[in-house]
Symmetry: C2
Subunit: 341 residues, 2 copies
């Protein structure tokens, strides 16, 4: 005895009006041939009965679940809220639901998470890989959001151009020595950003890179980055590869009584939640999440519609690099002319 589903179904509406279920279905979907008046009456009656179609029944018949998966191997990433919101928005606009799956950073559980989604019958999924984990073409269409450098990537922000924009901004402010602060040299995204920054440096400018993870492995977690010392060495600008690291740099400088931006400039990436409310507010580059999500979803839907040829086809559209936008706030300013070597 399957528990009686609450609410009316097609047949209840049908018998209640003395017509067949097919007619009701046709009237509500507008697909078959139903007279204008009858269709109207059926819709009216369905609405007043509070009819909601059973996705299960529909999915079983049509083979389309109407659900997409969102795989986030690093859900602790603070840009997740924006991303999830953008994906959910784009998916909802396309009439899809979004099922989330987290693999908690573990590469092994990533495939498990993907499997869970497949078992739940998602029609496709958006994957944001933690590192450069190659996505083994799963049993369903996939869109990958990471960076253009990642094989199989579908759409991503143009991290290289974003880096270039930061470097160009610092160059125009007269900075000569730039310290790039990243977390992990193994990240494709961070490497692209580093490359972008370097490409934007002008003759006479130089840069070095500080990897926090490497430093912490030596000095322990939460250790000082030694930025005050770097300032004394002549660095006037600190370009972090994420707003989180920018925040760390900024507060460390402030703690050491180095005024930002008059003595040193700090920039970040991603325009995270806090970047506009801190003092000084943070100059950063923002990803156009809305556009990225839109492209990812539409690409995914396109793959879904034309699947059948092969499984796990990865669609690569032409416009897969979405430009980042420089947001100039208070944390970046002209280089101190007395300190430029």
């Amino acid at each position: 005895m399957p528990p009686a589903r609450p609410g009316p179904n097609l047949s209840r509406i049908a018998t209640s009006l003395g017509v067949s279920v097919a007619t009701v279905s046709n009237a509500l979907s507008g697909k078959g041939r139903v007279s204008e008046q009858l269709a109207e009456k059926i819709k009216e009656h369905a609405a007043e009965l509070g009819y909601v179609p059973s996705q299960a029944g529909r999915a079983l018949r049509t083979g389309r679940s109407g659900v997409l998966g969102l795989v986030l191997p690093d859900i602790a990433n603070p840009l997740f809220p924006k991303l999830a919101q953008a994906i959910e928005f784009a998916a909802t606009a396309a009439g899809y639901g979004v099922l989330i799956a987290d693999s908690r950073g573990d590469v092994a559980t990533q495939s498990e998470a993907i499997n869970r989604l497949v078992e739940r019958g998602v029609e496709g999924m958006v994957i944001i890989p933690r590192r450069a984990t190659r996505i083994s073409a799963a049993a369903c269409p996939v869109a990958v959001i990471d960076t253009a450098s990642t094989p199989g990537n579908t759409v991503a922000a143009d991290h290289i151009q974003g880096g270039w924009a930061i470097a160009n901004h610092l160059a125009e402010l007269g900075h000569r020595r730039v310290l790039i602060i990243g977390n992990n040299p193994g990240s494709n995204v961070q490497n692209d950003r580093v490359g972008g920054i370097r490409s934007g440096l002008r003759p006479g400018m130089s840069s070095a890179t500080l990897w926090i993870e490497t430093l912490e492995r030596q000095n322990g977690s939460g250790c000082s980055l030694g930025l005050a010392e770097k300032v004394r060495e002549g660095y006037t600008a600190f370009a972090a590869l994420s707003d989180l690291q920018a925040l760390r740099a900024l507060t460390e400088l402030q703690r050491d009584s180095i005024d930002v931006p008059s003595m040193a400039s700090v920039t970040g990436f991603d325009d995270l939640i806090w970047s506009s409310v801190i003092t000084p507010s943070l100059t950063t580059v923002a990803m156009d999440m809305h556009t990225i999500a839109e492209i990812a979803i539409s690409s995914l839907l396109q793959t879904i519609q034309t699947r059948g040829s092969r499984e796990g086809v990865l669609v690569t559209s032409a416009a897969d690099r979405v430009p980042m936008q420089l947001i100039v706030r208070q944390s970046s300013g002209p280089a101190d002319p007395t300190r430029i070597s």
Copy 2:
């Protein structure tokens, strides 16, 4: 012609082994009566064919979709990643998937988002309301995570006790004048935290409250909070109602060359991502997301199992207030003895 679902189904396994579908179903679920050897053979064959059961078929028959909804009316809230992770973890452990729905802060779209979830056939949902939006008992079991003060709340952190812990900590450090910094006086959570802080103040201590939203309505978004002035007035401790506001306060103080914690202490709430990496690291109180999610999910599942009596029953367990944990870091210290009035 419904598009042929990829992969084998029960009947393919059945015919391939020359048995009936029912036997295959029984063997895989272990429910009916199947001989040991045959069951083993069936499982083996199913595994090697890579059989994954169709959730659609199962859901249609059993009436259980195996999916829960997560409604986040304020997805921009930075504690969302932790929360989503905890919920997803608890739901996955219980064999459920999690469908997210965002109403982008708009109260009107909240019911729309809930409806979308119901249409997708979720068996129940976890709702984190933005404000004190009363959840109209939907057409499915609901668990509300907000604060004990919210009517219909199912489980929440004990914000009052958390506030008390902060106040007690500041009292022990010798602080006398505490400025509470909140965002919005309309939030149940923030009000509970204020009440908790006040309840922890000892004789001789006093507090005032600063609402940022009110201030910004006058002075514009991103305006200074005027904390340096407050320090001059004699405040030695700033207790923010969220780590985001604590970060704002901390950076503003540092910018004005007021050292934390030697000249003023700053505390927050929620232990958000940045609280451990900034300098000085932030003293805060953390919600036990894991426990909260666990209680919410198990309460939800209990409601689901015993439903049928009435729709939208809200289960309230006895242990619906989960204690918060004080995390002492560097941003709080002894009150400057020369400045205590």
